[in-house]
Symmetry: C2
Subunit: 446 residues, 2 copies
Amino acid sequence: MRTLPQTPALDGWLVRAGFTGQQSVFVGDALSRKSWVMATININYEKLCTCYLFPEVTRQLKVFAEKNPGAQLYRLDVSDNTQLSVPTVVNGLTQTSERLSQSNTCGYDRHYQGEEFLRQAIGNHYDERGVKLGLDEIFVNDGAKSDIGNIQTIFGPQNVVAVQDPTYAEYVDTNVMAGRAEAHNSITCQYAGIAYMPCHERNLFFPEPPTQKVDLIYLCCPNNPTGAVATHEQLKSFVEYALKLQAIIIFDASYAAFITDPKLPRSIYEIEDADRCSIEINSFSSSCGFADLRLGWTVVPKNLSTEDAPAGKLNVLWHRRQSTFFNGPSIIAQYCGAAALSPDGRRECQAIVDRTLDNARLIRDALNSRSLVCYGGQHAPYIWAKSPSGMRSLDFFDKLLSEAHVVTLPGSSYGPHGEGFVRLSAFARRECVERASASIKENLRV
Amino acid sequence: MRTLPQTPALDGWLVRAGFTGQQSVFVGDALSRKSWVMATININYEKLCTCYLFPEVTRQLKVFAEKNPGAQLYRLDVSDNTQLSVPTVVNGLTQTSERLSQSNTCGYDRHYQGEEFLRQAIGNHYDERGVKLGLDEIFVNDGAKSDIGNIQTIFGPQNVVAVQDPTYAEYVDTNVMAGRAEAHNSITCQYAGIAYMPCHERNLFFPEPPTQKVDLIYLCCPNNPTGAVATHEQLKSFVEYALKLQAIIIFDASYAAFITDPKLPRSIYEIEDADRCSIEINSFSSSCGFADLRLGWTVVPKNLSTEDAPAGKLNVLWHRRQSTFFNGPSIIAQYCGAAALSPDGRRECQAIVDRTLDNARLIRDALNSRSLVCYGGQHAPYIWAKSPSGMRSLDFFDKLLSEAHVVTLPGSSYGPHGEGFVRLSAFARRECVERASASIKENLRV
């Protein structure tokens, strides 16, 4: 232990300020790694592309609203699933409120991984698909988005990241902020250092594994924004790649509940040996109609390993990360999650999924009636609509907005291979979808 | 844009696996920064001291319970504030549940910073103390712990961190995980590269500013674990230090509601010019009796600047961080937060604060009756009790556990200057505190 020399500039001021002696003690010499200037920002943020998706769309809508006062908009852009529409969950919420306000227990233990009753219910949910998970492999979280962003923090800064293109912006942005990318190219709309796996009509929007070595592979299936779902064989090829090349798959299964074909995998762990190379993230938001309770889970299997992390280690790292940065999910949300996984809750949640998919059918029908080509919406809550006559995404977005008053999201904002498409969300109230569909049929000039 | 050469080892396997052509495209040459091995872990986690505070205490309690079956324990270690004990908040919860289940609006906008009605209520709360904040300077979060951990991500890896000693472990641990510390010394229990500001009886547990240059200064006031509160003059000396040396103060005011003396500052922004150098983090958990709703807020003033970040920039960076990693707090929790800040809610919350401080008084009285010296508990929910006859923290913890069946936290687990103390929490049910106090008086052999 030693005391660092003070800088001359500091000495003078500190003496003037009346400080004498050594109030603070520095251990080691790591302070010398930095010149004595000031607090500095995370310069990786400077690399971020400045137009961020949702705020930008919000701004454009504001402009439209100002130009068209009183116009009724049909919002099929962001997910409108804040309504608590599952009776069992609403009951669970009310009962939990009462229980918490009357409880008189003395002392409690907090489970950073989530309460056992909920992890057990999630485990049973996997068990039905033939996937066996230990309770300590399941981490309840406050919604998929947080863990999608945070999971990269347990990996080193040098890992090479691969993503689908187009894809949900968070996979890339969180890695850019963590320093795993270089400059953004405003022409290609891509970051140097990130591996983009193109998804297009020819591969039905699901890519093959990279031909180069990458380390962290983000897969979103069913996909946001394209609505594409991988077959068993397609996932198997990624698992083989990851096992062979010691890569880790981060599998975002947030929309798995929308898969209707029983032959399609709902979890990456339905693929043999996927637990040796895959982390899976899931959410209660989209299938259970309670986005605003903020609940999801992440699976970090004990079999997961890489060359520098034997089996079990990544599970321990994630536990450490969660217990340090997170206080555990709300107990109220956890009781509601358990209610959603009860037999009654599941039946009611399935009704929501069915209703959402029926919304998707209506939207697809309306687009088809105007001779527009669209994908997705059969095993996913998103419809991926192709622009007419080679029109660009932003122009098609404008056209749907100005002619049909339907708000979508330009596909190009999800990556360069999203150019020429828009995304429509089926997470809207029925009457909103009905009116939007009618408006597309009546007002869209194609 | 170019395609990277494949490694020989990869080529063979990729050909065997039947991959042909180029499915993925790499932009730039950042991939070359890494040799072609495997996914790697964040090695900073390896530096973390292995005994993590709360799980470790949980483990020791388990051992005690096994040795003493049926023994009634009085838990004054972790905060037992999960009970929803504010009637206005319970009403708010019930009403919000009903509103959400009946809502039939079409479309909505999500505010990553929190709903305006709540930010307005928080702003009014500051206004009463003479502090003017803009709505875009307030970021509602899911509890103070998350932002205490996350705030460091907008700063560069080279910043030197200063913390009080003893202190809440998260300030240090999150910075260790981010690479701002070197090796842990198991004898001093400190990390190289972190500046520790000693808090002891001579300075009444509040330190003076460091005599060396540091960049990020974490201050917890009222302090966890010591219960110490800074005077206006003490905070002013830190603000002067930060302004002079372009450091940033991260001010954790989670327990500010417990300050009873109106002359003591409840917010760092009560100090002139503090908005140019300070971020403040606060929580609804401890003062409003709803820890399990997960709600707090962070203030990042627009006046905040450093030499590489002009005024406004850190506010933008934090907004970007939050909108990328976080989906905004639960709308239910936000309505409950607004209920807690209503006139009725505030009166009821004040009653909880008063009750907690009265709990603290009971605990102090019991300790004093056994001739034990203690600090804190007057403007804070924590009592910092000095071990008798120079006993070490862990021995005093054992003594209180085995003789009085009272569970505390060893002060040494908060840092080396916590050695010789234990922390007792007044966040317990009244009957638990009464029994614990009686047991200390009757059973503790001093």
